[in-house]
Symmetry: C2
Subunit: 142 residues, 2 copies
């Protein structure tokens, strides 16, 4: 598994309020399907409903402050390999790898302290050779 993070997702209870907060800090993002993506250096900071975040990962909602990590990889095979490696290392697979609604392929595990990692192949999010991720232009104008 490469030593990098592609997305940090913050679970929120009021998406417009959360987005406004980060915009008042000077951040600029794009909203797509009730999800806000901010380019943050070589990764994305994402705002998403806290209930959806937990359900999607196959874990209970951990309450205020909930956040999850994701690593995007270069192929579906690499998703399978990384989840298998994590399971061997003692991770709990909380969502087996499967096709995603956005046309990708992903699964989730938790580390021994319950931190969620999604391992995803998402052809829509360009990955550079060094692993940095670029949030695509969704063309939504916001």
């Amino acid at each position: 598994m490469e030593q990098r993070i592609s997305l940090v997702t913050l679970g929120v209870t009021d998406l417009p309020r959360a987005r406004r907060f980060y915009e008042r800090l000077g951040w600029r993002g794009q909203e797509v399907e009730e999800t806000v993506f901010f380019q943050a250096g070589g990764l994305a900071l994402v705002l998403w409903g806290r209930d959806k975040l937990a359900a999607d990962a196959g874990v209970p909602d951990t309450g205020p402050g909930a956040m999850t990590l994701a690593q995007n990889v270069r192929s579906r095979t690499e998703v399978d390999q990384t989840l298998a490696l994590a399971a061997e290392a003692g991770a709990r697979i909380t969502r087996p790898a499967a096709e995603t609604f956005y046309g990708g392929y992903a699964g989730c595990f938790t580390d021994p302290d319950g931190h969620v990692w999604e391992i995803a192949h998402n052809p829509g999010f360009p990955l550079a050779a060094d692993g940095t991720l670029t949030v695509p232009d969704f063309g939504a104008g916001s």
Copy 2:
């Protein structure tokens, strides 16, 4: 506030177990004062005691999966300015800016959904012009 993350810190209950897990995934880090730092692209993934993580941020322990974000900035003035901006935007300042034990200067806030951000000036962690952070060589040999 720049649009970037310098550190993602995972709260753990058994540091050697957590470190072993990430090492079995192929990650290599350095341990200093019961803290493990992994270079992860342009930021650091950090393992730290969950009790210390909460106490340090001035928030209650949120249980399994707890993690916090940090942004390192270029001066003490920028720490003060960023915390003031966050407070104006509706953040709760959970730890006012103050000198830190490692010779830096930092404070913490929570966003409207309780996510912790530490804003820190840490002369020991080099920041590149583009904001990427490099974990220094602590010379601990591990």
